[in-house]
């Protein structure tokens, strides 16, 4: 028979057991994580290469993160890359390696996400260098969601994001992403239409609000591709050089 003398201590013991293993132990292990300086093998091109960096240093990123959370984007777009043994996240072109705890040490609330009704955004702003025709290095976006044999290689810059926020199906056929017309406002066209305008109606134009600009800046700041000791790059080398 469960008397209160055994019931309460028993239940509290179960709670303590759970807390110890599910909260205190991970906290004890993960709270001391520090950013890495330079490449993990010591062969860094620049010793001041610190990863990850504090978000506050990037203007607008925190505000963009709040907007991303408040529009509920994270219910469909996760921000974590699983190892190859769990799924083909790397092969899909969402990142060069799995993500680990160190990638998130400066996030106020890591928006890891639990469901993918859209693609993963862990490395949406993944940039690489390519040589153009003249041999000058240019920055290119490496994050992709298209199948490998798809000829389309859209450049996901800010104006692409604005187009997508305004009407996803206009640029991604079959997209299930909700249109967000609330993120755009009508203004008068001055001398020339703004390069960011998503639609021109007569002499008025639809331009992104500050909130939309913050969201775009936040998305393009997402880059967890820096090689870490605990998470070596598992993407095929051929692609990594691209």
């Amino acid at each position: 028979m469960d008397k209160s003398s055994t019931l309460f201590p028993g239940i509290f013991g179960a709670f303590l057991l759970s807390t110890t293993f599910m909260v205190l132990l991970p906290h004890q292990q993960l709270s001391g994580l520090q950013p890495t300086v330079g490449d993990w093998d010591g062969a860094s091109p620049s010793p001041s290469d610190v990863y990850p960096v504090k978000m506050e240093t990037e203007l607008g990123r925190r505000t963009g993160e709040r907007a991303f959370a408040e529009y509920g984007c994270f219910y469909c777009h996760s921000q974590q890359i699983r190892d190859k043994q769990y799924g083909p996240d790397v092969d899909r072109g969402w990142g060069p390696r799995r993500t680990v705890a160190r990638d998130y040490i400066y996030e106020s609330v890591p928006l890891l996400g639990a469901t993918r009704i859209g693609p993963d955004f862990a490395n949406y702003g993944w940039l690489g260098e390519e040589k153009d025709a003249a041999g000058n290095p240019v920055k290119v976006h490496l994050w992709r969601n298209e199948p490998e044999n798809d000829p389309k290689k859209p450049i996901r810059n800010e104006s692409w994001i604005y187009q997508h926020l305004y009407n996803p199906r206009a640029i991604v056929l079959d997209s299930n992403c909700p249109p967000m017309p609330g993120l755009f406002e009508l203004t008068d066209i001055g001398a020339a239409p703004s390069p960011d305008a998503v639609e021109v109606i007569g002499n008025r134009q639809l331009v992104p609000t500050d909130e939309a600009r913050y969201i775009a800046r936040y998305l393009l700041s997402l880059n967890r591709t820096h090689e870490l000791k605990e998470a070596p790059i598992t993407m095929k080398k051929k692609e990594a050089k691209k």
Binding site: M1, F15, S18, T19, Q29, Q85, V109, L112, S175, P178
Partner: protein, 538 residues
């Protein structure tokens, strides 16, 4: 003490306890022959017991009805929000209701503006909050309040405090849900999205409610071994710890980085496994033996089931982060604990099934038994899906799909809601003094809830499986990711039009029926409204 005494234990006198303090002038509910008892020259122990029960019910009347009424309002809200959220998945820019109606009353522009901003990402958390913290938690607290009074045989001394707590909970929740819908605040933590101030208000309300559960247990006047009491104490005692600790740890920077996600997963585990499952099983363990008038099959089995569940289920939480950026051994630990959960699940189901054995025919006429038993079957489904989903081979396919919503819904609208409906059908007549108006209403409600809810659960699972296999196509050579949700559009459409629609209609019927009860429109007291005449059942 043998289990046979469980439901037949009589007290020989009222004593000087709480019963004597209840106002004598208060009209005792005439749900039992109790009111006639004092007129008889001889007072049998049965009459005393009935009177005592009536007095305890009377003390619980105010708070329990407040819980039920607000819970049912939240249930209706969550049906509407669930329908909108489900529809948004296959029709992202839709407007609720016919467009011509909005044009007719000149609000088309306004409706367009409103629904433009009401993206899936805003409706979905509001729906979850309304379902979890609105309907399920409030109904659970109402049933638990009544059950604790009955099981400990102690009347509630200050029902006003519980009622006050219920309003705190509701006001905090309402503010939080409005903030979610309008984009005012979303913490980014799934199932814990509400504004910290809203959650603080809810926690304050909860403490006013939950403290009574513990106090009543402390002053219990019976030594009968009810396994329901253990489950209720576990639920009431653990919930504030999980809720408060998560609130404390995730706001600010007490813990940082992915530890917040770990804490969140731990909270989700506590919410589903210890709060809802314990409340639901407490009710199932009470009502199934009560209705068939037989003690539970084995009290020792029930004890094993309880303790193994309480200890193991608290360790299963991190399967939710399987494959995620957390240390792998934590996930392995959770997977091992999840597999061991088979022990309590099998124990509980065996025990309840053995109790039901030979009495399944009573489901033909008893609304309570029908709801509670089908709910118990859904418990087997939900818990089994939890174990299955924790296996690495299954998880690597089903992770990130709607499979986990299917499991959550099997627990919330399959198991928990059905058990709560059964309990409400049993409790309400004992509080308001009249019986349910229409057996057809109850039958329709059962059909709509079981089949509509079953459709919702099945389609979440099917689209999860479908999506999981497509998502894991090697290297995404054929499919861009946006083709995958497209492939499940049909399942989503069926879920909205069949699942949520039928489920919602059934809940409207239930709400109207409950409203009649509150207005005391019903059958005369004394003759319970059964689904059919028990004599005809054979």
């Amino acid at each position: 003490m043998t289990t046979e005494t469980q439901h037949t234990l009589l007290s020989t006198s009222l004593g000087t306890g709480e019963g004597a303090q209840a106002p004598a002038a208060a009209p005792a509910p005439v749900t039992s022959p109790a009111s006639a008892a004092p007129k008889k020259p001889e007072v049998s122990p049965r009459d005393v017991e009935n009177l005592e029960r009536a007095l305890i019910d009377q003390s619980a009347r105010g708070p329990v009805l407040t819980f039920f009424t607000t819970a049912i309002l939240w249930l209706l809200v969550s049906c509407v929000l669930g329908y909108i959220a489900s529809k948004k998945l296959h029709d992202p820019g839709f407007i609720l209701g016919p467009e011509w109606l909005y044009r007719l009353i000149g609000l088309h522009g306004w409706a367009q503006w409103f629904f433009d901003r009401l993206s899936y990402g805003r409706v979905w958390p509001a729906y979850n909050a309304a379902l979890i913290y609105g309907w399920c938690s409030l109904a659970g607290m109402g049933v638990a309040t009544w059950l604790i009074g009955r099981l400990t045989r102690v009347a509630i001394r200050a029902p006003g405090i519980l009622q006050f707590g219920a309003w705190f909970w509701n006001i905090g929740l309402l503010a939080g849900v409005i903030a979610l819908l309008t984009g005012g605040y979303n913490s980014g933590l799934e199932y814990f999205e509400l504004h910290p101030a809203a959650k603080g208000c809810m926690l304050l309300g909860y403490l006013m409610i939950g403290v009574w559960g513990v106090i009543l247990f402390r002053y219990k006047r019976t030594a009968a071994p009810y396994i329901s009491v253990s489950y209720l104490v576990a639920a009431f005692f653990l919930f504030p710890w999980f809720f408060g600790a998560t609130q404390f740890l995730t706001t600010g920077s007490v813990v940082t980085g992915v530890t917040k996600n770990i804490v969140l997963a731990w909270y989700q585990g506590g919410l589903f496994n210890l709060w809802f499952t314990c409340l639901g099983l407490a009710a199932a363990y009470y009502f199934i033996p009560k209705v068939i008038n037989k003690s539970i099959y084995s009290y020792n089995l029930a004890k094993i089931g309880f303790w193994s569940w309480v200890f193991l289920s608290g360790l299963t939480a991190l399967t939710r982060l399987s494959g995620g950026p957390i240390p792998a051994y934590l996930i392995t630990l959770s997977v091992a604990a999840s597999i061991l959960l088979i022990i309590p699940i099998a124990t509980v189901l065996t025990n309840l099934a053995q109790t039901m054995k030979g009495n399944a025919g009573m489901m033909a006429w008893s609304p309570t038994l029908r709801f509670v038993w089908v709910g118990t079957v859904f418990f087997g489904l939900a818990a089994g899906l939890g174990v299955l989903g924790s296996l690495r081979s299954v998880d690597s396919v089903m992770h990130f799909t709607q499979w986990n919503y299917g499991q959550t819904h099997a627990l919330l609208i399959g198991f928990f809601s059905l058990v709560m409906f059964g309990a409400i059908y049993y409790i309400t007549p004992r509080l308001v003094g009249c019986e349910w108006l229409s057996r057809s209403f109850i039958k329709l409600h059962f059909l709509g809830t079981a089949y509509g809810g079953g459709t919702i659960i099945a389609l979440f699972l099917i689209s999860g499986i479908w999506m999981g296999f497509t998502m894991n196509e090697p290297a995404g050579k054929e499919y861009a990711f946006y083709n995958i949700p497209q492939s499940m559009l049909f399942a989503q459409a069926v879920k909205s039009y069949l699942g949520y629609f039928i489920f919602g209609i059934a809940q409207i019927i239930f709400a109207v029926h409950f409203l009649f009860m509150r207005l005391r429109i019903g059958q005369p007291a004394g003759e319970p409204t059964l689904l059919m005449n028990p004599e005809d059942a054979h």
